[in-house]
Amino acid sequence: MSALESSIRALLRPSDQVKVVLEALVVPPPNNAGTPDPSPRSPNRSQIDDTRSKRILAVVAHSDGPNMQEEGSVFILKWKAAGRAFDQSDILRVFPVFGGFSITMAQVRRETWPMAESSPGLLSLTITQGDIQDLEPLTLATQHVQTLRDVLAECKRLKEIADAPPVSAPPLTTFSWLAPYTSKRVPLPALFGVPQDLRVAQKPLHTRLSAAFAGEAGDDFTDIVRIRDEWIRSRVRETSSKGKQHLRMRIGTFNVNGNLPSQDLSPWVGGNGNSNTTDPFIPPLKEFSPFSIAEVAKNPFDTPAPAPISDESEPKPEAAPAPSRVVLGEKKPVNVDAHPGLDLLVLGFQELDLSTEALIYSTSTLKEEAWCTAAFAALGARAELYEKLASKQLVGMLIVVIVRKALKPCFSEIKTSAAGTGIMGLMGNKGGTAIRMKFTPPATDAVKNPGPTVLTFVNAHLAAFDEMVEKRNADFHDLAKRLRFDLGPSLPEGATAPVPVTCNVFESDALFWMVSDLNYRIDAPDADVRTILAAEEWAESRYETLLQYDQLKSAIRTNKAFDMFSEGPIVHLPTYRFNAGLLKDDLGYDLKRRPAWTDRVLFTSNVFAPIQQLSYTGHPQITQSDHRPVSAEFTIEVDLYDQPAAEAAADKLYRQLNGLEDAHEDTNARINLKIMNAAVDLGKVSYKQTVIQQVGIRNIGKVPCAYRLVPVDPESSVHPDWLKVEPMTTLLLPDELAYITLTAYVDNDSASRLNIDHKALECTLILHTVMGKDHFIAVTAEYVPTCFANTLSRLTLLPGPIRSLKSQSELLAVDRAINAPREIMRLVNWMMGPELHLDSVFVSPADETKVATIRECLDTGADFPFSPDPKDDQAPVAFGETLFRLLDSLPEPLIPVELHLRCSEAANRYEAFELLDALPPTAVNVWISVTAFLHFVCQSSADPDAKTQKIAGLFAPVLLRDTSNLASPVGRRNFLLHFIS
């Protein structure tokens, strides 16, 4: 076999064979009268060496199994030197050999083709396929007479088979095997050129498929293409990855309020001259607030912020972070390898210029120069290592990218964009500026042509004023639409003229959004905000408490804006609005404006560029504006892969997978999945205990096969809330064995429902084979009821421990209900036992095994295996933890939500006790017992006042749980304090 034949062989699928290969030249068709073409394009002597007119003709035959009729096609390919690989785009035309196919040979006439004059002995061949509309006849010329004869003989043979099919063969000649060579597919540049839109990439694949349910397959054809492309995308990068490189960057945002730089910016830009910059965990400077020293001393990114009472230790499936999100608090060694220190410094400024003239688009760069100079000055001695790479200004908004000089050659295709959303939706007083660039790691021996990673930075300044939160959310979406980068003209296949290509900010691997001066505020009463920020007793939970009211967090939570973004934990004071004059509170905040975190750095990325945040802090020592600057440091883990190798791998996978779209109906037997265990018994499933089982699925068909799980009807979900299924959709190669993981986990919400009457859990998962049948997987489990997540009233109707309840009919009549749930009373009574050591209760972390044992005893009615022992302070901690979690698991908070407002307004102990009359009797009993116990714990502490504050901070959000945050957090806390202090 010749080298050329082998190259074509490599292009074909295993079922297809190359029979004859012929090198030839294109002969232009004769124009009207058959006279020589007088146009300048008329071929000349040099054309014989011009590769553009060279073609390769290959006769390819397809045969699939002994019963299949052989089918043939003539492929016309671009010419390539022997040994060069072909890909699908090299296939110019395909002439299937059947029906109206013909191929004829003739002497080349001199008058139609001048070249023939200089090359005597040229023969022409003309191929036509009249049955296919728009497939024009093609004429080629060649000197290889013998090969040409072989071509004709082979075509004749294949044509005869097509014309007289053997009786045994299926009647239909579909030529479907040609689909891989001719069908449209995602062009490779789409896999490697412009990254997939992050808003799409971050949604799980199964949520992007067509609507389907039992008996309604949906749009299988579109689905298979999506599943296939996603599968190739991840498989290619997985297999071609040659390691990682880390890019360290610092992002700063500063609303300068029209000022020019007048202070040292080094804390903000991470300069500080000779300071030790290799340790990213030291915040640049200590904050001045006496209350925040504790936070500064221990960096929150170093260790997880210790939640006073941690949740159950089992993994919560629903809390699993998306793979691209950073797991904050998990300190990993930061690899700064060859580039110690910062690689990139990205600074966003707002309100650079507040003058009236600046409202119209201004091009002045005076202010930009001043701030850049200040930034470089702040870098100190290290400034000489850096230079400005790009910047973009729109009126008051400026974004500047500063790069380590040594890395500058790695950045290319730097594009900028700006959009105003201010007055009339266009003016530049509000809006955003953005910079997009490609980072290509330096080539190494292993990776000669590294693939790029696209980074985008946006600096936005959105509408002001608290009540305009909707407008701000709209601005975000408007900016997302209007910030577009011009990638320059491109000539797509088939187009006659270059078309400009643009892309949006989300078409990146990693996107950082400096939402500086977003003006997202804190939706809590002004007095509360100031009290919580300043008062010492709130120190531990101050940020956590206030961030519940943060408008930006709320917009993200409710998917109104920035829903795909992450943000590091905020453990710095609000950055706005400071007042240098008299109208300020003790922390320096303007008395007329509620303090808020208006300066933020958000980020998002795809799986190929995971981001880890190293720090996030405000810089209160830079006081020249009414805002304080904010900085955040990150490392991006950039995938190192060889682009040509990845493209070749993608092409190979495409060839392997192509034809999927066509494999349906009459190929029913070819698509076949086998479910290894169609009935799964998960056994006993208890509250917050994870049970995992796997279902094996093997592709026993001859073609690649994709599946997706579908719900039974459009109103249902694919699986019940207590069950998670992973993966929801995937693709299996022939003979591949994959596993679906079923995870049962009963959380508070499911338990509150299941406790009522669902001992036997069952569901049927419907696994739809794309283009094929539906398989059922029957899942059963036995639910073990718990006293957790029951309403108080139901607990008081239990005749005994919840596990001994056989049916709902055994519940006590309402008039015979017990006074208070015996489970709560058992816990409190045990802890009130003689001479117990309660100092560590609600302080030290509890032993999870002990907590589980105690819960089991409450559910079964068994005696606690721990006897009160003054020397043992671990058991009381576990009991305290159990009580806390039991109260937190109540479907309704102990104090009904409708009373929260009145509770938070209770001015004194007398008014607080009065309010108890409005509570249901059971709730009063529990409230009295619990608060009496908490009071006892506080009083027996070495420092009763501190303990009281701590316990109030812990229990108020539980006993007066309120997710809608209508009542003042300070008021709710004070209500509890009336009882326990």
């Binding site: 068709p29 553009r52 728009d134 497939l135 001719t182 039992a214 779209e661 029913n668 039974v712």
Partner: protein
């Protein structure tokens, strides 16, 4: 020009009466002695050509017969134009089950649904428990089509599907189920050899 129609057909009946075998015989003219129990629902198509050259394409949903999956059946017979309810002539219990299915279809399926009651395994007549008369009488009372079939020998199989095709309202093109439409669309997006010529790179200085 001959007319073409497309109908959704669902197969129902007790487990192991031979639903999948009947479909396999009808669609591929094959028979397996040992078929695994269907746990799910398979979609197949087969076209029947009538005397007047009208073609009727059946979109067949072959469903699981096991009681465990009974609650899912309505999802598959929804919008069905016709149903074949199968029993096994060697087991009178399966006819009882067939009666239950028929009652359910009469109550819940499309009122115009054409129902055929089929006694399968007619090759095992020696072990017959359900007489022809009994089943036929019941079918007449309920206004159902009736036949005995053998997926194993092929006896009566194509006949019953042809009979159903003739009984279906061939006056106007039926509103085919959405699934059918989606599949048809899928097919159209398959191989399109016609596109070949237009997919030429514009840059090529050639006239091919």
């Amino acid at each position: 020009m001959s007319k073409q129609f497309q109908f959704k057909l669902v197969l129902l009946g007790e487990s192991a009466v031979g639903k999948s075998s009947l479909v396999l015989r009808f669609v591929k003219d094959q028979f397996d002695d040992y078929r695994e129990s269907t746990i799910g629902a398979a979609f197949l198509t087969q076209t029947v050509t009538l005397d007047d050259q009208t073609t009727v394409k059946f979109e067949i949903w072959d469903t699981a017969g096991q009681e465990r999956y009974k609650s899912l059946a309505p999802m598959y017979y929804r919008n069905a134009n016709c149903a074949v309810v199968l029993y096994d002539i060697t087991s009178s219990a399966t006819l009882e089950k067939a009666r239950t299915w028929i009652r359910e279809l009469q109550r819940q399926a499309d009122p115009s649904i054409v129902i055929a009651l089929c006694g399968n395994k007619s090759d095992l007549a020696a072990r017959r428990q359900v007489t022809e008369e009994e089943a036929k009488k019941y079918a007449e009372e309920e206004g159902l089509m009736w036949a005995e079939t053998s997926a194993k020998s092929g006896e009566g199989v194509s006949e019953i599907f042809t009979a159903i095709a003739k009984k279906l309202p061939l006056t106007a093109p039926p509103s085919s189920s959405r699934a059918g439409a989606a599949r048809a669309a899928g097919r159209a997006g398959g191989v399109d050899l016609n596109k070949q010529a237009t997919a030429q790179p514009g840059q090529e200085a050639c006239n091919c």
